[in-house]
Amino acid sequence: MQGDLFAKKRRDSLVFFALLIAITCVSIVITKYDVEKGFTSIPKAISWAFSNFYPNEKSLEKLPDILLKLKETVLISVAAASVASLFALLFAIFGSETTGINGFMRKITRGIATLFRNIDVSAWAMILLFSFGQSALTGYFALFFGSFGFLTRAFTEAIDEISSSSVEALQATGASYFAIIFQSVIPTCLPQIISWVLFMIETNIRSATLVGILTGTGIGFAFNLYYKNLNYHTASLVVIVVVVAIMIIENLSNYIRRVIL
């Protein structure tokens, strides 16, 4: 019996790896990807980065300008995450098993959230470019929609996970639906909610760089501008500024998390 089980497991993993290798080979053939050239170009890329992609003295003059763009990006990211979190909370409450009003509402809200979540922010940026053109608004809405989808899902799971026991107790006292949400569900989930919003802000600053390239705003625009003008030194400075900003925000949110949890 047991021997059979192990033999079966071994066979299953063998089949799995065989399939994986087959798929990889087929993809390489179809895309005409040159494996050897792919690997040999890595050292070349690294040596290029070291000889060109570093900030020099002249690029530092651009720092104030870059920081200004960074500020714009950070603010948009924070605004998108926090406004999205309000909408997401509403949708999560209506979509959760514990607090949803009925099965129909649950399906609708979950459906909308899934739709928004499965469209990537860069895809949102492209779509919104048609309606808003290259403006900060496009970037904002792209991040907003992405955040909304993700946060709805995260919040729904947070609400589903809390035991419904205190909700039951408040129902038994005759408390109204929204009183129960605000007195029981939100206080219980608040640490997770804050934690996810912080995570979303970090993620948004990362994506904002890419979204900025597409929408011509913020730090992404700055990077794109210098890069296209072959001003690699300044472009590298932009990258460093973004990395430092993300690290600062990550540390800040870890600190806040420690305090609230």
Binding site: S165, S166, E168, A169, L170, Q171, A172, T173, G174, A175, S176, Y177, F178, A179, I180, I181, F182, Q183, S184, P187, T188, L190, P191
Partner: protein, 260 residues
């Protein structure tokens, strides 16, 4: 009669008949224990009374009101006159003790006041007073998750009492507590019934506890009332009837009682 159940039945899904034709009534101020093996339908029965679970059939009259026929607003009025106490206390763990107690006032509030948690000064004083009565004056501002099980259950009792209830429904309130804490909780419930005149309907798993504290015992087995009478008249055979095959260990407890 404060509470009357007539022919109450509950069916879960297609084939689980949790309650069949339950008939009994409870007088004002009475301390009534419902005993029976697990799965007998005790929790379901208790929750049908304040409609946390919808009964499938029958009639429930509480304090002159038709519970099963009441609309949303009437149900709110009924629920706030019935306090509920749970096996797992069901507190909001991240909030303070006093906030948890004040939750018992939410049934008296408009949605706005409830959402914002606006409580009157008298309500806060009342909460403090109840906590003192229950021996929790030192934990008033502690977070609920810092309390022991017995203390949490007393917070649960305070939350129920601040509703100014006519009746308390207690679903196995001592099942998760050690004997010491259990005794404290049962003594409080008994004195709530005797001194405050609040009716108590309590699900218990332990026969000996039910015998010691109750004015009346209702035995439930497989969703039916199989005993309804004074604890003094409960014979071994009737306990056997109530508990079915689980009876072995219980007879020992009862032997102790008769010996003492």
């Amino acid at each position: 009669m404060l509470l009357e159940l007539r022919q109450v039945s509950k069916q879960y899904g297609m084939n689980t008949k949790a309650l069949s034709d339950i008939d009994f009534s409870v007088k004002e101020g009475e301390f009534v224990s419902i005993i029976g093996p697990s799965g007998a339908g005790k929790s379901t029965l208790l929750r049908c009374i304040n409609r946390m679970i919808e009964a499938s059939n029958g009639e429930i009259i509480f304090d002159g009101a038709n519970v099963l026929g009441s609309n949303k607003k009437e149900l709110k009025m009924i629920r706030r006159k019935i306090g509920m106490i749970f096996q797992h206390y069901n507190l909001v763990n991240r909030l303070s003790v006093i906030e948890n107690v004040l939750h018992g006032r939410l049934g008296y509030k408009s949605t706005i006041a409830g959402v914002l948690g606006l409580y009157q000064e008298e309500e806060k004083e009342q909460a403090v007073k109840l906590l003192q009565i229950l021996g929790l004056e030192d934990q008033i501002y502690k977070r609920a998750d810092q309390l022991s099980g017995g203390q949490k259950q007393r917070v649960g009792i305070a939350r129920a009492l601040i509703q100014s209830p006519k009746m308390l429904l207690c679903d196995e309130p001592i099942a998760s507590l050690d004997p010491n804490a259990s005794k404290i909780i049962m003594d409080h419930l008994r004195s709530i019934s005797t001194k405050m005149g609040i009716t108590i309907l309590i699900n218990l798993h332990q026969v000996e506890v039910a015998l010691k504290y109750s004015d009346r015992i209702i035995g439930v087995n497989q969703g039916r009332v199989v005993y309804n009478g004074s604890p003094d008249d409960l014979t071994e055979e009737q306990i056997h009837n109530i508990y079915g095959s689980e009876v072995g260990e219980l007879i020992l407890d009862l032997g102790g009682k008769h010996a003492g």
